[in-house]
Every structure is written in structure tokens, then in C-alpha cells.
Symmetry: C2
Subunit: 391 residues, 2 copies
């Protein structure tokens, strides 16, 4: 018994701690090599079913759980996907702030889990402390900044990056976005048809793609139809500022008779402001806002909303990312550095290899028409986007 104690393979008998069972313990207990154990558990190699099941049984009995760290080190795959949450402003760390992000994150998480990946929530601020401490197979970036240093570094180090929101000037593997321009134009047309003569906009001061594209679309439309732009901008991350801006908009001498609010709380803010000024909705003021919340179905009156369909976006983003991770190994920067011109309409082409601009996918939005934007009797849901490129 003294000499035969060193039976656990090559490991010298250095104070066997009673830690978790490793693959070596399973091999020893099953009387096979670790190769056989690995193959048996992973369904690889050429093994008779009998050996396979025996090894599996022993592993089960020993409560064997493979070390994720070792596997990751060996295979280079962690099964983890980063989800960067933008901080609509500076300090405050806000996802789940707007229903859009919450829904989007939820759908993304669900889609990732469905394909065997887990999501790691990481801040968009480039605090390397956390970022470099986690092995990521890829990253989802929500609304990347124009020259996002984080995205650039990730891309440079070979990590696939798929963004929700068309990237401004940073290289990504792929991106997904709504056709915000078409959506805004659709709303403006809708309001015009409902009788609006002067349409105002409640927008944000930040420079993210959503705000920029939407505002530009509004300004372009104004110029085309010859209406003087009437808009107020405020920092979207500050909930109190929204109410103030809504009030300002309706207090102007050139008060609009219809307003589109870009952010989720704008609907209630505008409604409250309208009440303060004695304006009836929709009689004196037509109202539309972009929101995923269903509280606008129950307001008095119900408010027409634009839904960006965050669930579809989240699912698509994650699927594109995992396709990129599992697909072609994306050689040394071959698919980079081209101007972003390749936008296609939903559905996307998966497994996009080769060169060219980062593939972008446009997802349809949905305008949910309610009483606040109708002078007549309310109709039902209608969906609206134009084909892209039509401007």
C-alpha cells in the first residue's frame, strides 16, 4: 500500500487536496486514459459505445465538471459574448432605462443562450480593468460612438463586433439597425395626412446614430416641404430635462400643431405639457413618440408610437455575431476599412465572407397608430417603412 499509492498517473503525490474531480481522476477511476475520457465526454474520437457510456457513468458518479477555464485556454473559445451597455450621458450606468434597451438586451440574452452562449454585461466606457479580464468570443455593441475607441480596439484584436446601430466611423464585423430615416419620414407623412401644418420635433443633444439620423431626416424633410424646423433638444439621459424641453417646445411663439418625440418618456411629457397649455390632443395637437412601452395604449388619449422592434434587433444582432464567431475565421483584417455602403433590407445574408463593407441589415419599424395622431376615428396598426436609398 505504500508503493502503490502513486497510481493517479503522472502527477507526483503532492498532498492530494480533496478538490473537485478532474479529468485525470475520471480516467483513473475508469481505468482509461484522459484522452479517452475527453473523447467519450465530447463525443469525439473512435470509441465503442460501451466505453463511452462507462466513462460517462464514472464521470457522473464522481461529479466531474470540466473546467471552463482550461477548456477556454485550450480551444480559444469561451462561449461568452460581451454586451456593451451605453451610458446615455456620462456617469450613470443605464441600460434597462429605456424599454428599448431592456427588450433588446432580453432578446439578445435569450438568443445567445439558445445557441449555447452567455452574455456578459460590460460598460461601454473603456475601463480596461474589466474588459481585459474576461475572454470574449465576440461583442455586441449598442449604439457605438462615432469613433469608438473601444470598438476599434476590439476589432483590431480580432474579436468580432456586431453593433446595434449603424456605426459612424469605426470598423465592425456587421451591424443591424432600423431605417430611422424612413421611419421619421413615414411619421411626418402620417402627421401631414392627419392635417398637421407645422410639425415639431423633440430630440436629443447626444451624437449617437439614432438621434443624428432621425434629426437629419426631420431637417431634410422640413427643407423639402418648406417648413421652418421647430425643435427642442435635451440630454436624453436626464428624465427631468425631457419634461422641461417638452414644455419649452409648446411654449414657443411658433408653436407646432404636431410633435414627434424621439424618446420613450416624451409622450407623457408632451401630454402633460399640452394639458398645462390647455391644448387638446389630438384636436389642437397631434402627438407621436418613439416608445416600446404599452402604457401609451392606456393614456388619455392613447398615443401613437413608433416601435423599433427591439426584440427582432437583439435576436438578429446576436445571431449575426455568433455566425461570425463560428463561421469563417475572419483573416487578418481583410474585411475591414471600406466605407459603409452595403446595407440590405431584412433578412440578412448570414455567413458573409469575402471583402467589402461591413454588412448592415435594416430591420423594419412599426408605427402603432392611436388616437393622438388622428383627427378622425382611430384605425388599426399599420406598418410604414420605405425602401432604403429612396431618400
Amino acid at each position: 500500500m505504500t508503493a502503490a499509492a502513486n497510481q493517479s498517473g503522472r502527477r507526483p503525490p503532492t498532498s492530494r487536496r480533496l478538490e473537485r474531480a478532474g479529468i485525470r481522476d475520471v480516467a483513473a477511476a475508469a481505468g482509461v486514459s484522459i484522452t479517452t475520457v475527453s473523447d467519450a465526454l465530447n463525443g469525439k474520437g473512435r470509441l465503442p459505445d460501451e466505453t463511452r457510456s462507462r466513462v460517462r457513468e464514472v464521470a457522473e458518479r464522481l461529479g466531474y465538471r470540466p473546467s471552463a477555464a482550461a477548456r477556454t485556454l485550450r480551444t480559444g473559445r469561451s462561449g461568452l459574448i460581451g454586451l456593451t451597455v451605453t451610458t446615455y450621458g456620462e456617469e450613470p450606468f443605464t441600460f434597462t432605462e429605456f424599454a428599448y434597451f431592456a427588450e433588446m438586451a432580453r432578446a439578445a440574452t435569450s438568443a445567445a443562450l439558445g445557441r449555447g452562449y452567455a452574455l456578459v454585461v460590460l460598460p461601454a466606457s473603456s475601463r480596461h480593468d474589466v474588459w481585459s479580464n474576461v475572454a470574449l468570443d465576440g461583442t455586441v455593441v449598442i449604439d457605438p460612438a462615432d469613433q469608438d475607441p473601444l470598438v476599434s480596439e476590439l476589432y483590431r484584436s480580432g474579436v468580432p463586433v456586431v453593433s446595434d446601430g449603424k456605426p459612424g466611423n469605426c470598423p465592425v464585423t456587421a451591424w443591424v439597425d432600423n431605417d430611422h430615416e424612413a421611419a421619421v419620414l413615414g411619421i411626418l407623412d402620417h402627421l401631414s395626412e392627419a392635417g398637421a401644418r407645422r410639425i415639431g420635433l423633440l430630440t436629443g443633444t447626444s451624437t449617437d446614430t439614432y438621434t443624428r439620423l432621425s434629426t437629419d431626416a426631420y431637417l431634410g424633410w422640413c427643407e423639402r416641404v418648406g417648413q421652418e424646423p421647430v425643435y427642442e433638444a435635451y440630454p436624453a439621459h436626464d428624465p427631468a430635462a425631457g419634461a422641461v424641453a417638452a414644455d419649452r417646445l409648446l411654449a414657443r411663439p411658433d408653436r407646432p400643431d404636431a410633435v414627434y418625440g424621439l424618446f420613450d418618456p416624451n409622450g407623457t411629457d408632451l401630454l402633460a405639457a399640452a394639458r398645462r397649455y390647455g391644448l387638446r390632443v389630438p384636436d389642437d395637437l397631434l402627438l407621436v413618440c418613439c416608445s416600446e412601452s404599452d402604457v401609451y395604449a392606456g393614456t388619455e388619449p392613447p398615443i401613437t408610437t413608433l416601435s423599433l422592434k427591439p426584440r427582432r434587433i437583439g435576436t438578429t444582432v446576436v445571431n449575426l455575431l455568433i455566425d461570425a464567431i463560428e463561421g469563417v475565421d475572419s483573416g487578418t483584417g481583410l474585411t475591414a476599412d471600406a466605407p459603409t455602403a452595403g446595407a440590405r433590407l431584412f433578412p440578412p445574408r448570414y455567413r458573409t465572407a469575402g471583402t467589402g463593407p461591413p454588412p448592415g441589415t435594416l430591420m423594419p419599424t412599426e408605427l402603432i397608430v392611436r388616437a393622438s395622431s388622428l383627427r378622425r376615428s382611430p384605425r388599426t396598426t399599420v406598418s410604414a417603412p420605405r425602401t432604403p436609398g429612396e431618400v
Copy 2:
């Protein structure tokens, strides 16, 4: 140049791929050993500042990023914390569904990042596929089931587990919860003082701690004051069922003149039902519901809500967990298996070592009194919980 090519240390010259720079490359470039590089970058060992800064500079120049997987494998620490999201029901994967979870998750994420950890979102269903593929330093469990197999296995395998919600019958390292019993009793008292003669309850059919404790508190109160219980239960994960249950409650022959709803949407549902039956709030019906949403400040009338202060909970849970991870190494199950009796009131004692029941921390709730529960003129916010154990 032919013989001197093998200068990169012990590695044989097997087709140097131009992958990311490793610690060996840095060592070679700086003309030191990998030991020195590791020590220099991690601030360990005894090195003159000059060597340290030189190594750091070389590492920077080479764009060196340490491999998280290798580090995790070596140190046994991943810097990752699991966040299990309960699926209030069966299939649907729902966090961010209720504002409580969203706020709680946000605070938890923020707290974790602040201490250098990242959160991994994982499903509470015990799909080992994902769970065993990620190295976790610890796990936050939201509202564990009574005999949660997942929690048991995690605990057994030595992973610290801190739960939001007092655990029923599974061992955890620590837990945090509101004093739901005291909160419900406070609300019932509040409604009684406002003139309620028969208080109804809108509750859930699931067996989670929150639902159970709250319902039991209600039933106990009824028995004590001699009121016949009037309640309806529905599956809380089904938003449509809530409206139906609210309607049922107000349609009963023994219709209550005050209702407390345990779930977020109950307020609007009850309000709508009251309208259908021609009941005025608060004149004919007093209303309170548990919610984190501020839409209830803007309803007509504004509805009194109980806030569970999810942000405080999320922060506390994560801090307790990280304390457990970084503190005493929690020997082989010494701190387990005792009946849960050790509940203290906020603030918790950190770094709890030794034996005894899993330390629990009770966080205060806040009753935000609005017009819906006042027969007289509305007062302002009052906070309410009793001291625990008083029953």
C-alpha cells in the same frame, strides 16, 4: 542569423503565427524572463522601478493583453459573477419584465463593475449546457425556488451563492430580502386607517418567497382582525391573466373596498376594472400595489405604491457575494445546513465567517402614499416597515 533565430525561449520554432503577443514575446522583447514580466505588470515581486516601467512600456508597445483564460486557469478566479434570472413561469425568459428585476439587475451590474467584476446573465433553469461552460466566482440568485437544484449544486461545488429573496430550503452563502411580512402588514394597517372595512388581495399562484410570505401575512392579518380573506390568485408571468384576475376580484359578491396588488401591473389593471364597474378611486375603492414604476405618479388618480427598493437590494447582494468570494475561503461546508434563523436588519455585517445559519439581511421597503389610498387630502411619502420578529 540562421542559428540565432531560436531566441524566443523554450518554444521550438514551430511556424510562428502572427497572433496576439503573449507574455513570452514581451519577455523576449524586453530581454527579461517571463517571471519578471508577470511581476512587473502585476505589481508583485521585488523589482526596481526602472525594470518595471521598461517592461510595462514594452508590453504597451507590443499591444500585450494578458489571456483571461490562462489567468483564470492559474489563479482560479475569473472575475465573473453569475446572475440567474428567474423565469416567472415556465418558458418565457423574463428579466426586465418587471421594473423590479430591471432595476435590481442594473444596480447589481453597476456594483459588480465597480469592484472589478462582470455579470454573466444565466437562466435559472438548470440547463447545464451553459452553466458548466463558464467559470464563475460566485452567483447571484434571484428568488430561488424552494428546493432549487441549481442552487444546491452550485453550493455543493463550492461556488458562493447569495440570493435575492430568503431561500426556502436550499443552502446559500447569504441572502438579502425585504421584510415582506412587515411591508404587507404596514399596508393593511394603512388601508384600515384610511377607512377600509374589507381589504382584498391580488396575488400570484407561484410558490416563490415573495408571493408566499406576502400572502401568508395577509391571511394571518385577516385571521387576527376577524376579516374573511378576499383574494384572487393568477400566474404572475402572464400579463393578460392579471387583468382578468383584477376583474374577478371586483366582480365578487363580497367585493372588497380596498385592494392590495402584489405585482407591478396590478395598479393599472385594478384601475381599469374599477372603471368598468363604476367604482371611484379612492372614494369607493382604495388601491395600493407593489411597483417600482413611476407611471403610478401620473395615473388618474395617482396610485399608492410599495417600493421594494431594488437598487439597494442589488447593490447589497453583489457586495455580500464579492465579500464572500474575496473573504474567508469558506471551508468544506462548515457554514451550511443550519435552519435559517439569523436575520438582521440593514446594514449587514460583512465578512461573516464562522458557522451558524446563512446570514440574511433585511432591507427596508418604502410606501409611497398617493391619492388612491387616501380618503382625505394626499400626504407625502412615508416609510413604513416594522422591526422584524414582531409579527
